[in-house]
Symmetry: C2
Subunit: 183 residues, 2 copies
């Protein structure tokens, strides 16, 4: 055997169904010995998430500089500006710049002058965009977008949707794209 792996699950867990069914054959094929182990719930999800982001960043060759400041975007300003950016078709650049500034620059989105900084880096005039982001019109846009997401049954980020078919989690990005491409 090349290695071994501990498998944690419990018998009230619907998420465990597929793994229980798949692990035997896959482990044999991989030459890995599986130990069945008990399961508990505790408060260290956050540690796992950070470690997991680091591990997956390495795998996908995305820069990662350790835990970024958290939480972020306390007044949803970065989000409001993102909605404007989406209307005007520069949301891709804005989003990549915002997350890069957060994870590599260590400046959390929507805090202090960080949005201004991002807008300037994209050669956008920050003041009028931020004024729009704080307007009643922006409030309405944000509410509409939130209602639409709620209607679809979206509960977590990131989520990818193809019509009403939703995929939750970065690890479903490829599945979601394959689903979209087949349509």
């Amino acid at each position: 055997m090349a290695g071994h792996l501990d498998f944690y699950f419990f018998y009230g867990s619907i998420h465990s169904y597929l793994s229980v069914m798949r692990i035997g054959a896959l482990a044999s094929a991989a030459g890995v010995e599986v130990n069945n182990t008990a399961f508990t719930k505790n408060d260290v999800k956050m540690n796992y998430f950070w470690h997991d982001v680091e591990r997956r960043a390495r795998r996908h060759k995305i820069p990662f500089a350790g835990r970024a400041p958290y939480p972020a975007d306390p007044e949803l300003l970065a989000l409001r500006v993102g909605l404007i950016a989406a209307q005007e078709k520069w949301c891709d650049d804005y989003s990549r710049a915002t997350f890069h500034d957060w994870f590599i620059g260590r400046r959390a989105p929507g805090v202090g002058d960080h949005v201004e900084h991002i807008l300037a880096s994209l050669d956008k005039s920050a003041a009028p965009i931020i004024a729009r982001a704080q307007s009643a019109e922006s409030e309405r846009l944000s509410k509409e977008a939130t209602d639409a997401a709620r209607e679809l049954g979206i509960f977590g980020a990131p989520t990818f949707a193809i019509g009403a078919e939703i995929f939750w989690g970065d690890d479903r990005l490829e599945d979601a794209l394959a689903f979209a491409a087949r349509r």
Copy 2:
């Protein structure tokens, strides 16, 4: 463009970092157009989880007969028997039988005489095993296993661990096996 996909995320979401960074190139390669969309939190996680289990069951050719009775294993009897099974090296068969009975037979683990039924199907004498599962010795085993899992930082099921390296979710089974095989 072969299709399009809606991408939900927000700017306070560490999980969204990888997707924001990866989606542009992957979507181009897949010929899929991406719409950036707002995000909300609500109470329909359960609907998604069931749909997702169905979708992944189809993909992995695992039988699925719709939503199984939920919740399950109210007194952790199925779990306690599983710990005994793990000590005696018949946990794989017991676990597959338990989940098959739940998802296909629609008999939730640990309810009524379901554990007896599973044990009988494995040619085990149910009464002495269940008596052991309800003993103080079993209580101690269960507590030790739970403490060990807590120590490792495990917070959800299914989880796969290679030493202290944990992978959460059925979608990480292949990653976990690859990690274990490399060691």
